[in-house]
């Protein structure tokens, strides 16, 4: 369980994190989403006690993490896969971490095997691809078998097979009853990974709810329609304030009316419908819509 209350971080006149309050529960994967520069990494660093908050508090299992003498048995964290010394072997890197927390050395080969890196144990980290470094970082988080795990953009650099593996792995960790927080700036990465979402923009909380509830927030309501009586239906729905757009496959997309209302109109006016299907709002769109005003570095005009 991670609890942040009014968490704030200012650098001079810039406010990186602005009175952020949220709770991350155990047992589910929570996605931590926001555009680049939204303050995700700063927030995670404050959770870990690496950065001091300007205001507010954050606790992990009821205690500020920085107050614990040793960390690995409480929180496993992967902030940046490059936070290693390239001159060491994967085995030496993990051994020094395990030893610092008084963990048995056998944990090193155990976690390396768990992330599929057993063969690379004796190689220097310098020669690793980003994907391998991510796996090494994930292995390090597992050393102390902690109840809370934090991952900052862990899917960067992983190949499709690695992404699939990591997703399953995060789910498994959550199913074991752990608290799992995974950050990303891409909604599509979270779509198949997270159950709960915390969305921030410009350091402020935009949403903290389930993925399903978040998807429903999209204001764009779209329905795909197929009908031989195109002109009649178009006239009817535009009369109710909706817009109709023809698609390449011969169907039409109606925006601005719920499927139920379109069905009623068609029934009353004897319009034949071959298809009437509400389109699940794309999460990506919901995310873009909600974070649009808070994008730190947008390319050109708002698109």
């Amino acid at each position: 369980m991670i609890e942040a209350t009014e968490l704030t971080k200012r650098y001079g006149r810039t406010t990186a994190v602005d009175r952020l309050s949220f709770t991350v529960r155990p047992g589910v994967v929570t996605g931590f989403l926001g555009p680049n520069g939204a303050g995700k990494t700063t927030t995670l660093r404050m959770v870990l006690g690496l950065n001091q908050p300007t205001g507010g508090t954050v606790t992990v299992d009821g205690q500020p993490f920085g107050d614990r003498p040793r960390g690995l048995r409480h929180v496993g964290a992967l902030l940046n896969a490059d936070d290693v010394h390239g001159g060491r072997t994967a085995h030496a890197h993990l051994t020094m971490l395990a030893v610092s927390n008084g963990l048995p050395r056998r944990r090193v080969s155990e976690v390396l095997a768990e992330v599929g890196m057993a063969d690379a144990a004796g190689r220097r980290i310098d020669g690793f691809s980003l994907g391998m470094k991510q796996r090494l970082g994930i292995a390090a988080t597992l050393l102390g078998d902690p109840p809370v795990l934090l991952f900052d953009e862990p899917l960067n650099g992983l190949d499709p097979e690695g992404v699939r593996w990591a997703r399953g792995f995060f789910k498994q960790l959550a199913d074991e009853g752990r608290t799992v927080l995974v950050s990303s700036h891409l909604m599509r990465e979270m779509e198949q990974t997270a159950e709960e979402l915390i969305v921030i923009g410009r350091g402020r909380l935009i949403a903290a709810q389930s993925l399903r509830a978040f998807a429903a927030r999209s204001t764009q309501l779209r329905v795909s329609v197929r009908t031989p009586d195109t002109e009649l239906l178009a006239a009817l729905v535009t009369g109710e304030g909706a817009t109709v757009r023809p698609e390449d496959d011969g169907s039409y997309t109606v925006t601005g009316l719920p499927a139920e209302r379109i069905g009623e109109l068609a029934f009353t006016h004897r319009v034949r419908l071959h298809e009437l299907s509400p389109q699940r709002a794309s999460l990506e769109e919901a995310f873009m819509e909600l974070t649009q005003e808070s994008v730190e570095y947008s390319a050109g005009a708002a698109r």
């Binding site: 690496l50 927390n101 008084g102 963990l103």
Partner: protein, 290 residues
Amino acid sequence: MTAVLDNAPARLRVGAPARFRHLLAAEWIKLWSLRSTYWVLGAGALTVIGINANSAASNADRLAHQQLPSEPPPGASVRPELLFDPLHTAFVDPAWQLLMVIAATVGGIAVFGEYTSGLIRTTFTAVPDRQAVIAAKVTVVSAVMLTLGTLVSGTSFGVTQMLLREYGGLSLGDPGALRAVIAAALLAPLCALVGMAVGAVIRHAAGSIVAVIALLLLVPALFRGERYRWVKEIGNAMPLSAWERLVMNPERARDLGKYPLTITEAWIVYGAWATAAMAIAVLVVRRRDV
């Protein structure tokens, strides 16, 4: 919340209380799992010993071929005093300044290397007790450098005095010899401590190295003047000056100039620098963002 935690998995049930010796072991692994450690320490030790031995060998050679006047020059004592100082050949200035640079660099790298690589965040996440981490690092690096310093100092003394055995070579029992060997052995850990403190404050590679070399070598060279007492006193307060005083052959310590450093003061300089460096290294990491 407690209930949830109780349900949390615990495949790892080994209770491991936080012990300082775990951190010492981790720092030991950190140091020796980098190839550069072996290279820098090995090459450094051999170079310093080599310079000292070479100086002794060439001095022995020069003394062997020296033509002593058969008769004392008019007005002089019966035999001209041998101005050659055998102790000094074991403690050739440039060689030991090189050792200072190596020790300070190794100490500095041990600290700023964690910052420049980003490893410090991984380290402090594994061990949130930052001061304990730095205290362990200071202990391990100092111990290793003390071993290196003792090895280099002892070997330099032994080899040079053996080469000079026919020209007044000293043994450890001779006045000032043991003191010189100890002071030289302590120079490496002292400079490593200063390197660690500077690395902890500056946290950047080039900046740390430049700063520590300027502090250890440039400042004592600049503050040697005797016109103003304060200038000389600043120079006197530097580790290099203290070392020079401590390795000086007491038989030859006649012309020390104005405002000389006493032996006691020199030891105090050593102690003060070591204490201050340790305190700075440990205190400075406490609350800064990493």
